[in-house]
């Protein structure tokens, strides 16, 4: 507590100086796109971070599941807690039938986004790099601050969404789910509702088409925004050695944002699937 209050005090003292020097350090801006780690090398700085995230996840999984014991301990215990919590959480949204089929995707999405987001908060990310045209090109950049990555996840989900929707509903029910009137209409009312729901169906198709775009830009925007904020805050300080101070409170916020964005992406994709597969697995009960 004393440590925290001292940090806040130092941060408050440094704030005026930071604000005063803000104008002259305005050139601290993170580009919207990932950059090659070295000129001519077709590997981007965000790609490296994704690889590190993949490596961390892989090593953790191998270590946690190498010697599986019936009575878990250490890493296995933690991994089981993560997997079981995610499974139960997703079961509440998707139901017991759908979660069995789709858990691997949603849990993977959540873990990859979370690890990648938190990896960005490790000191050195975005600050270690090479000088090009008078600015620092970082060797590492937030994996989700790259539209390629967020788009890859969103489009993969869109394809899987179609696959699951068609296999669970069949083409007829899938189209009926989008265009057919919902409710028990008869006679003249039904004749009136058919064109209404056809128009609603068209809007639904547009909504479905927009979902991957929204998922892509929501995640990218939040993570890029966080990185940009940190970058600008670091540039506010007159001394490089004190550059960490303005960003310190935002680290806690970014920890939360990293988790929330992973959760939001997973939740939205799970809800989208649940909406189209409302009756999936009901015949089994």
């Amino acid at each position: 507590m004393r440590f925290l209050s001292s940090i806040i005090l130092v941060w408050l003292y440094s704030l005026p100086a930071a604000l005063a020097s803000g104008a002259e350090h305005a050139e601290h801006a993170l580009p919207l796109y990932p950059e090659p780690i070295w000129p001519g090398v077709p590997i981007t700085n965000s790609m490296v971070v994704i690889w590190i995230a993949v490596a961390i996840i892989t090593l953790f999984c191998r270590a946690a599941t190498k010697k599986m014991a019936f009575v878990p301990g250490g890493l296995q215990n933690f991994a089981e807690w993560v997997v079981e919590s995610l499974y139960n959480f997703l079961e509440g949204i998707l139901g017991p039938y759908l979660v069995k089929k789709t858990f691997w995707f949603f849990a993977s999405v959540f873990l990859l986004i979370l690890v990648t987001n938190w990896l960005f908060l490790v000191p050195g990310m975005g600050t270690v790099g090479r000088i090009e045209d008078g600015r620092v090109v970082g060797f590492l950049r937030g994996g989700n601050a790259d539209l390629n990555m967020t788009m890859a996840m969103s489009l993969t989900f869109a394809i899987l969404w179609f696959y699951w929707a068609l296999t669970e509903n069949g083409i007829k029910d899938f189209l009926a789910h989008i265009f057919a009137p919902k409710g028990d209409f008869k006679g003249l009312m039904l004749a009136f509702m058919i064109p209404v729901f056809l128009v609603v169906g068209v809007l639904e198709v547009i909504s479905i088409a927009i979902r991957p775009v929204a998922l892509t830009f929501r995640l990218f925007g939040n993570i890029y925004g966080g990185e940009q904020t940190m970058e600008n805050l670091m540039g506010l300080m007159p001394s490089k050695w004190l550059a960490f101070l303005p960003t310190l409170p935002f680290y806690f916020m970014e920890l939360l944002v990293g988790f929330i964005q992973a959760l939001v992406f997973m939740l939205l994709t799970a809800v989208f699937l649940r909406l189209i597969c409302e009756h999936a697995g009901e015949e089994q009960h």
Binding site: P31, L32, Y33, P34, E35, P42, T44, M47, I50, W51, A53, V54, I57, T58, C61, R62, A64, T65, M68, F70, P72, Q76, A79, E80, V83, E84, Y87, F103, W104, F105, A107, S108, L111, L112, D146, L147, N148, M149, M151, A152, M153, L155, T156, F220
Partner: protein
Amino acid sequence: MTMLLASAPENGITVIFNTFGVTLPYFVASCINFFVVIWVLKRFAFGPIQSMLEERRARIADGEAKLKQIEAQLAEPEANTAAAIAKAAADAQHMIDEAREGAAVLSEQKAQEAIAQAHQILAKAEVAAKADRERLTVELKREFGRLVAATTAQVSGKVLTTEDQSRINEETLTRVEA
């Protein structure tokens, strides 16, 4: 950079892709990274962990079922013991009742036998007493007759004949008995 839609005319999407650095190689690389993560997690994390969780759940369910079975088995001997005790108690009661009934019958029988024996003894005693009495009466009569005859002979000085003696005896006995 090779843009994803490089061949397409300069439209909105192309502008967006150019602005955000979306390129076909980078996009494909990102997809591959994503698939690798999915594969790794499915192969090394979710698979083994979910199997372990399922196995543990099954073992817990199995343990609970066995526990219920053991409880039932434990309850069964208790019920058996209680039933055996109840049966034994009923048998014992039945035996006691039978014994009581037997004892009562035997007692009655013995009492009847004793009564019968007592009656027999009494009858025998009565017969014996009667016989003794008769014998004594006969003896008494004889002695009395002899004494009366002797007395009469001495008083009268007459020798009595057998008919006299008999007549005197009968007369005397008749008077005595009267």
